[in-house]
Subunit: 184 residues, 2 copies
DNA sequence: GGTGAATGCGGCAATTTGTCGCATTTTCAG
DNA sequence: CTGAAAATGCGACAAATTGCCGCATTCACC
């Protein structure tokens, strides 16, 4: 096993997710692994907790409001640069992944991810570039999803503008966004 | 003229891609935009070029044969830390995107991406008093078309295998290939 | 306040995809 | 050479998606 180089004993971990149920389940799983877990459902409470007592680790869900979740990363790091943050999201996209890492996140995981995967994400060492390249092309639907996310981000979340730019109907874009991210 | 904050005049750019055709076309497009473009089809030649005369910008394709082109990023940055690298790949994945950024890439783009998008990727928060980039994203249909062509090529024109890989129905792929005009 | 843009739907008709089936070709090992 | 497996092209029809209307809110800005 190898493990995890994280000594869980008494390590503090802040879990930020607006989904109460998901939050509770994951918190339980992490607690069982020896972490002192605190939770927050909003950016503001997360920040307050961090300021009061900076945790060693943060699991940050981006589903809060897209962009606002990302902005929490530099804010947390301002409070305490040593905080190790992994981003976890049900709407993973390359665009937000790139953003998150640039903002200082340690890693970025698409949901669903179990507690072990999350801990493994914290455990990444200084880049091991020997990481295998995923030699499988994206599915059409996945590619479309990624592209939409990127353009939407470029347009600051403006759906109408994005639809125009993508030369597709706003209604269609709305419907696509309403659906779950496609598997690929 | 308009607004790319990248002053193309006499900026040196190294394009690393093993696909000679793609490389030539993109090099031409970039040259037309005022860059002094050099190209490399392998990691070793890329490194040699960089060592001889470090470029300001690098466009790095990850589809290089053999070991992942990911490792080239730190190697290039060792030669000259000021090099601005964007990664471009037809096999985009969140995992490699995260790795690429952590290794020091400035941005990460899934293929297909046109010259304007690539330049826009260089322009991100680059400390320059930048202006909004005038890059228009590909339409959904165009993106799909490009991607299909790519994967089809990788599969030596095998429609069945391509459809499987793209997670779409063979019949649908046939029909898509049957019609030509894809506006972009 | 007023105005224009954006948003979030519902509801259809038009178009596209999914899914079968089947008759050839191609590919390839024995 | 020969048979089996895979690939291809295509028709047909149901299922799903998209284009395109409209309309009631909400938002941003002057």
């Amino acid at each position: 096993m190898n493990g995890n180089d994280i000594t869980a004993e008494s390590s503090s971990l802040l879990l930020v997710d607006d989904d109460a149920t998901f939050c509770r389940v994951l918190a339980q799983a992490l607690t069982r692994r020896g972490f002192a877990v605190s939770t927050a459902h909003t950016s503001t409470t997360a920040l307050q907790i961090a300021q009061a007592d900076p945790p060693e680790y943060v699991v940050l869900d981006l589903n809060l409001a897209g962009d606002s979740g990302l902005m929490l990363i530099p804010e947390l790091l301002t409070v305490e640069p040593a905080i190790r943050i992994v981003v976890l999201t049900g709407y993973a996209s390359i665009a937000t992944a790139v953003e998150a890492i640039k903002l200082g996140a340690l890693n970025y995981l698409p949901k669903p991810a179990d507690a072990d995967q999350i801990l493994a994400a914290f455990a990444v060492n200084g880049g091991d570039p020997a990481m295998p390249i995923n030699a499988r092309p994206l599915s059409i639907n996945r590619l479309e999803w990624e592209h939409i996310q990127r353009v939407l981000h470029d347009n600051d979340g403006n759906i109408s503008a994005t639809a125009r730019q993508l030369n597709m109907h706003r209604r269609t874009l709305q419907r696509k966004l309403g659906k779950r991210p496609v598997k690929g």
